[in-house]
């Protein structure tokens, strides 16, 4: 049984009310859920609040989990809903890449001296949220396209095209930063 299956089994066992099971589920998943939330909101306190809300909801709703998806996929889906509600309530607007292009160009002089990974990280963080999210789910959560589609609520082909355009966007951002794509990508 791999780790994903263990998580699913633990979620299925939560409705029996054993806090030990729930604590174990928390211990093996909290970092992954937190990473996902932190990448969405970029604020430690907010991500911790959302983490707490997510696990409270997991406790409350586990009886409705039918293992039609993996346990972690279901949990990340809850985390995403919570985060979207919070962001909507706080009216945090999507970072508009076009509005900030000018700033990025100004920074390009410093980029030459910067570490490669730092530049790439900066560029990655400038991706539109819908593109960043699919990459986060694949490369941080280790999710396949089907899981990503379940979490984001979009068709499988949309997920695939978002992955493609995420990389294309990343190239464009790097070019706009004055870096030749071959240097980094």
């Amino acid at each position: 049984m791999d780790k994903e299956d263990i998580i699913t089994e633990l979620v299925l066992a939560v409705p029996q009310g054993d806090e030990g099971v729930f604590k174990k589920l928390y211990e093996i998943t909290n970092k992954r859920v937190f990473n996902y939330l932190y990448r969405l909101v970029h604020d430690k306190n907010m991500a911790e609040d959302l983490l707490m809300e997510t696990f409270t909801e997991v406790w409350r709703s586990a009886k409705r989990f039918r293992a039609e998806s993996k346990g972690l996929t279901w949990m990340i889906g809850i985390a995403r809903n919570r985060a979207m509600n919070m962001l909507r309530n706080r009216k945090i607007k999507e970072y508009d890449i076009n509005e900030h292009m000018e700033d990025l160009s100004e920074q390009s002089h410093n980029c030459e001296e910067a570490e490669t990974s730092a530049v790439l990280e900066q560029a990655l963080n400038k991706l539109p949220a819908i593109h960043r999210e699919v990459l986060d789910l694949i490369f941080m959560q280790g999710m396949v396209y089907k899981d990503v589609a379940l979490i984001t609520g979009v068709p499988l082909n949309t997920v695939k095209s978002r992955v493609f355009y995420a990389k294309e966007n990343l190239k464009n951002i790097l070019v706009s930063m004055g870096i030749a794509e071959d240097d980094l990508l």
Binding site: K31, F55, T56, G142, K167, L185
Partner: protein, 203 residues
Amino acid sequence: MTCSKNFYESMRELIPLYVKGLLSDSQKAEVEKASDEHPELRMEIEQWKKIQRLYKTIEGDIPQPSSAVYSRVAARIKEHDQPGFFERFLTSRKLTLAFIAGQFLVILALGIYTYITQTKPEYRTLSAPPAKTEDSVKIHIVFKETAAEADIRKLLLQVHARIINGPSRSGLYVIEIPSREDVGKSLSILQGNTIAEVAEKAY
């Protein structure tokens, strides 16, 4: 070597998952074979590997969640598990039985009260107050034509009388006074008043 566009696209789509190690063995072999034949796919793999390495760096930069978060979660779920009043009511056998017993007592008390207060059924019309024929006395009275309504009312109130019939064509009213004992006194008041022409006990 040539291959269909669809095949190339499907291989390209699999590369992020290949790099992350999320493909089955057969899919992995397929991607590797395709990349050996297509330098574009090899380049694509290298690009995604850079992105993957980048994610490893990013993951290292993400702070750890505070260890206090679980305590907060535990407190919240304990709070959630505390049953509310109605939940406690529905799940507690004792409370449910007490409620049923209470209802039974209320119904019993209402039954006893109804039995005591309504041993003698009383029937009456809705349009008129009950006539107490046993104690009341009827009096025929004729008022002067010039008598004002206010004076008539004042006189009737003085003897606690009420009109129960009339006026007839000749101006005769039948009034009723509530107590037989007061009939003599009432008659003398009526007969002594200037607005009454005639006041006689009805038989």
